[in-house]
Every structure is written in structure tokens, then in C-alpha cells.
């Protein structure tokens, strides 16, 4: 290809506002078509990342979602600065995503059954878990235990938020203990792992569902593949840490296609919910 072709061909490797490239087959997809098709690749059916509000619409009955604890916001307890200050990073993420934090929580119903919903947003600092993510999830889990409402959490996260240091680590303890409370109250908790679910999120609430569900092809694991490769100094096998790999190793209950995710959740809740 000559320099002229480079200039005139559409630059398909750079997703613009209108295009998105499939992460598996490389097909270039129109965003407006993607939104209509549940963010599935029309060519290879890859489950691409679904925006927050599309996800909430997918899993809850029409107009049933009522957000709670929207006002809880991150502070900067460590006065953390890397190439930018944490405060600046938060501001940018809020501007970019139009939400205050990496998780949005609320009350909703699914095929008529009321439940508490938490949906993580990978666009907000990689879906990382700091104090606010831990607090908001703990609150819906506690409401679930008190009011006997099932809880569904959709994870999408690279793990703990380093900028909050030890506070972010402790959110793993806090959310996991709240799930134990829910267990004791015999209220169902369903964890949905989407691409990616790793680190401290994978090693806490995301793995603790009465039923653990993953989306096809989602990357799920404790350590990121790059860290593992650097540690053991060998290439990782094909499909390692993908949803199907976890199913094979007994770590999740099922891999569910996005088109039938809502109906599957509703059916499971009808069985588990007293």
C-alpha cells in the first residue's frame, strides 16, 4: 500500500464517534447498528462492551429502574498524584461518562420481580473499585438482606483502584461480608461477569454469586494475562481466562448469550426467590 492509499482509505484502526471495530474479528461496525443489536458483532457475534444505560435497559423492565445513592462521590484520601492527580482523573471520568462513579445502583424489576441492581462501568477509570464502588454495592446488598430483595451485580472491572490505596483493598472485605449477610438471609445474589472482570473485583463480590454467570468470551481472572506471562515467562494457551475456560474449570455456573440474559435471570430468580 502506497502513501496515497493510506491517506484516502478510511482509518479503520481508529474508532471514531460513528464506528467501532470488533475486538475479535476486526469487522468495522456502525455504532447506531451496534446499539440496536445489543452491542453484538453482526459478523462473529462477539459480545462487545455494552454502555451502562443500555445494560440497565437490557436487564430491567421498562422504566422500572430507579437509581439510588447517586450522590456518593469519591474523595482523594491519599492526595494521590501520578502523571495527573486523582482529583483530575475523577473529574475527567465524570465528564466522559456522565455518571459520578464506576458503579450505578438502583431498584428495578425483572419480568415483574423487584430486585436491586448494580452495574459497573468500565469507561469510568477502568471500572476500578474504590471506596464509592464498595460502599454503593454494600448498600444495595444490605437493602437486599433487609427487604428480602434479590441482588444482581454486573461486573466490568480491572480490579482495585490504586489511587485509593489500602481503602480500595478493604472494599473487597466489605462487599464480601455483605454478601455473606445476604446468604444468611437466604436472599439470592446473581453475579454477572462481563469483559473484563479481573483483580480485586474478581477476587471478591464477582465470584461470590449463588449463581455466577459470564458473558461469552469475557476475560475473567485474578491476575491479568500480562502479569502471568511476565511471572512464568511463557505464552498463555489460547482461550485462557475466557468465560468458556472458567466454565470448563468449574468456576462459573453458565455462559449466557446477551439475547437471553434477561429471561435466564428472571427464570433463575423465580426458582430461588421465596
Amino acid at each position: 500500500m502506497g502513501w496515497f492509499d493510506k491517506l484516502t482509505r478510511p482509518r479503520r484502526d481508529v474508532p471514531s464517534d460513528l464506528w467501532k471495530k470488533c475486538t475479535r474479528c476486526g469487522e468495522v461496525l456502525l455504532i447506531k447498528d451496534l446499539a440496536k443489536n445489543l452491542y453484538l458483532c453482526s459478523k462473529c457475534d462477539q459480545h462487545l462492551r455494552m454502555p451502562l444505560w443500555d445494560r440497565i435497559a437490557l436487564l430491567s423492565d421498562d422504566n422500572s429502574f430507579v437509581e439510588v445513592n447517586r450522590e456518593i462521590r469519591s474523595v482523594d484520601p491519599l492526595k494521590f498524584v501520578d502523571s495527573k492527580s486523582y482529583g483530575e482523573r475523577l473529574k475527567e471520568s465524570i465528564a466522559k461518562t456522565d455518571v459520578n462513579e464506576a458503579v450505578t445502583t438502583g431498584r428495578a424489576s425483572i419480568e415483574g420481580q423487584p430486585f436491586m441492581l448494580g452495574v459497573m462501568n468500565f469507561e469510568f477509570m477502568g471500572g476500578s473499585m474504590g471506596s464509592v464502588v464498595g460502599e454503593k454495592l454494600t448498600r444495595i446488598l444490605e437493602v437486599g438482606a433487609d427487604e428480602k430483595l434479590p441482588v444482581i451485580i454486573v461486573s466490568a472491572s480491572g480490579g482495585a483502584r490504586m489511587q485509593e490505596g489500602i481503602y480500595s483493598l478493604m472494599q473487597m472485605a466489605k462487599t464480601s461480608a455483605a454478601i455473606k449477610k445476604l446468604n444468611r438471609a437466604s436472599v439470592p445474589y446473581i453475579s454477572i461477569m462481563t469483559d473484563p472482570t479481573t483483580g480485586g473485583v474478581s477476587a471478591s463480590f464477582a465470584s461470590l454469586g449463588d449463581v455466577n454467570i459470564a458473558e461469552p468470551g469475557a476475560l475473567i481472572g485474578f491476575a491479568g494475562p500480562r502479569v502471568i506471562e511476565q511471572t512464568i515467562r511463557q505464552k498463555l494457551p489460547e482461550g485462557f481466562q475466557r468465560a468458556e475456560f472458567l466454565l470448563e474449570h468449574g468456576m462459573i455456573d453458565c455462559v449466557v448469550h446477551r439475547r437471553v440474559l434477561k429471561s435466564t435471570l428472571a427464570r433463575i430468580l423465580r426458582y430461588l426467590n421465596a
Binding site: V75, F80, A178, K180, S204, S207, V227, I228
Partner: protein
């Protein structure tokens, strides 16, 4: 891992000089006691100067000193021959990076669980450098449930770079094992005392770290990520570990201030690797101070208090946004 650090080189040189002089002095040919006395005073002053003002990054190095007292070192000093080691998770195998068993600490019969590192390369390879696989965490949980059944308090020593990142660990559910422990430890009906003796490395540390009381040694660290890991991710440059160690606020004093831990155990000048006995004494002191109080609580009180303790951890604001630039 060097046995001495750059910042303590001059101290170690002077200490070596003292030993030499002592040998000469003892041979009886010359009396060097005044010279020895002078150098000793100099060394003590230097120790206070150097060890009294360690940077976070230097403390992170002391925390992983190869001669730091390990779980089995502490057990040996505190329990002697009475300790009975118990192995295995009853599911897959026995992880040598976590040890556990029954022993007596002070006036109390307890279940002891801890990460185990080695003091040399060979031992470290056997112990996987104190980095557990899922079976290690599952063994720990099995021991906790056994302790609960027999009303034994649990004493935990934390000292790990982190849970092992490897193929087998992922296949056998590292995430599940850690998450399960976090949930189940909030539901254990006997007292749990945790001591961070060296490195408190992220989720791999926390997975046996849900205690009614959590203590850190003065020169131990506890962090969501290692300084090197943080530097590699945020600065894309592992050599920025020094800056990362500062930013992460991973020292015992930081964690006490943040309300994450309940107390700091003092170390001798230079660190516990210079005096294992002293570290063991500090641990027993805390056990004697706290276990009698915790033993009086009911199962429900313990579980409720432990829940509240970890429930309160985190910093955020709840106000509606007013500012808008």
C-alpha cells in the same frame, strides 16, 4: 535479595569492625575495650539516625528482608515443640506457602495460620516465595472452621508479596478462593487476631486478614499493590517504585491513621530480622492483652463487631454536588 541494604552499609561495616576488635581483645594481647566502647557508641548513634528516618521505599525493603522472622520462626519461639502442624485443603493438595496448626501462645490454645517464606533461595522456591495458590487459602479456611468447631481463637501471620499469578492458580480458582475467605471470615464465631509481620501484599494478604484485631509490625507494609507493580502500571516505569511507595501510604503509621489497623508492634532498631525473640514477645503481649476480652464475647457479638469494623472502611462524600467550575 541482599542480606544488607545500601542505607545500612556503614552500620554493618562498623559492627564487623567491633567483632574484629573483640577477637583481638579476647586473645588478651591488648586491651581494646575503650576503642570498642567508642565504636559501639558511634554505631548506636548511627542506627538511631538511619533506622529512625527510613523512607517508605526503604521500609518496603526491610519488610521483605530475607532474615525477617517467618511464621514458622515465630511459632518455634512461641510454641516450642508443642506445635502440631496440620496440612492440606482436602480438595487438591497442600500449599507450602501457607502453614497452619495447633499451638499454645501465652496462656491460650490457638489455631495458627500464616504465610510462609524461606530464608534462602532453595527454601523460597519450596515455599513459592510465600505466594499461595488457591489450595493454600482453602487450607486456611478449613483450619478456621476447625478452630471454630472447637472454640479455639485464631492467630494469623501475614507475610506475602501476593497471591501467586500463574496458570494453575487461575485454573483452580484463585479469585474464588480469595473471595470465599473474605466472605467466610466475616462469619467465623471465634476471635481472630491478625499480625502483618512483613509484606501485606494485596488480596493475597487480605484473604487471611479479616481479624477482630489487626496489628502491623513497625517496619511491615500493607498495600493494595506493590510499589513496583504500581509504578509499572501508573508510571509505566518500575524504577519509579520509590515514588509509588510514597504515594501508596503503605506504612504501619499510615494504616493506623486511616483506621485500618488497631496497633503497631515496635521493632528493634534496624528491624525484626535482627531480633526474632523480640518480635515473638511483642506478639504474645498483644495476644495476652486482647484475647481475654474477645473470648468473653458471644459468637454473634464477634461477628457483628467484625462486620461493623470492615463496613466502616472507606472514604467518600455524600453531598449533592454544589461546585461546578
Amino acid at each position: 535479595m541482599p542480606k544488607e541494604f545500601e542505607f545500612e552499609k556503614s552500620i554493618i561495616e562498623l559492627e564487623a569492625r567491633i567483632s574484629e576488635l573483640q577477637v583481638i581483645s579476647e586473645s588478651g594481647k591488648v586491651d581494646l575495650s575503650r576503642e570498642i566502647q567508642a565504636i559501639t557508641e558511634k554505631v548506636e548513634a548511627l542506627k538511631i539516625e538511619v533506622y529512625g528516618s527510613l523512607e517508605p521505599w526503604q521500609i518496603a525493603q526491610v519488610a521483605r528482608h530475607i532474615n525477617r522472622p517467618s511464621t514458622l520462626d515465630l511459632i518455634k519461639i512461641i510454641c516450642g515443640d508443642e506445635f502440631v502442624e496440620l496440612h492440606g485443603d482436602r480438595l487438591f493438595g497442600d500449599d507450602s506457602a501457607i502453614v497452619s496448626g495447633l499451638g499454645r501462645m501465652g496462656n491460650h490454645k490457638v489455631m495458627i495460620i500464616g504465610h510462609q517464606k524461606g530464608h534462602d533461595t532453595e527454601e523460597n522456591i519450596y515455599r513459592n516465595f510465600g505466594m499461595p495458590h488457591p489450595e493454600g487459602y482453602r487450607k486456611a479456611l478449613r483450619m478456621m472452621r476447625t478452630a471454630e468447631r472447637f472454640g479455639l481463637p485464631i492467630v494469623i501471620f501475614i507475610d506475602t508479596p501476593g497471591a501467586f499469578p500463574g496458570i494453575g492458580a487461575e485454573e483452580r480458582g484463585q479469585s474464588d478462593a480469595i473471595a470465599r475467605n473474605l466472605a467466610e471470615m466475616s462469619d467465623i464465631g471465634v476471635p481472630i487476631l491478625c499480625f502483618v509481620t512483613g509484606e501485606g501484599g494485596s488480596g493475597g494478604a487480605l484473604a487471611i486478614g479479616i481479624g477482630d484485631r489487626v496489628f502491623m509490625f513497625e517496619f511491615s507494609v500493607y498495600s493494595v499493590i506493590s510499589a513496583e507493580g504500581c509504578a509499572a502500571i501508573l508510571w509505566n516505569d518500575p524504577s519509579k517504585a520509590k515514588e509509588a511507595a510514597n504515594a501508596l501510604k503503605l506504612r504501619a503509621s499510615n494504616l493506623l491513621e486511616a483506621g485500618i489497623i488497631d496497633g503497631i508492634l515496635p521493632e528493634p532498631l534496624g528491624g525484626s530480622h535482627r531480633n526474632h525473640q523480640r518480635a515473638a514477645e511483642e506478639i504474645v503481649k498483644q495476644i495476652e492483652a486482647h484475647l481475654p476480652i474477645l473470648k468473653k464475647m458471644t459468637r454473634e457479638e464477634l461477628i457483628e463487631n467484625r462486620y461493623k469494623k470492615f463496613r466502616s472502611m472507606g472514604r467518600f462524600s455524600c453531598e449533592e454536588e454544589l461546585e461546578n467550575a
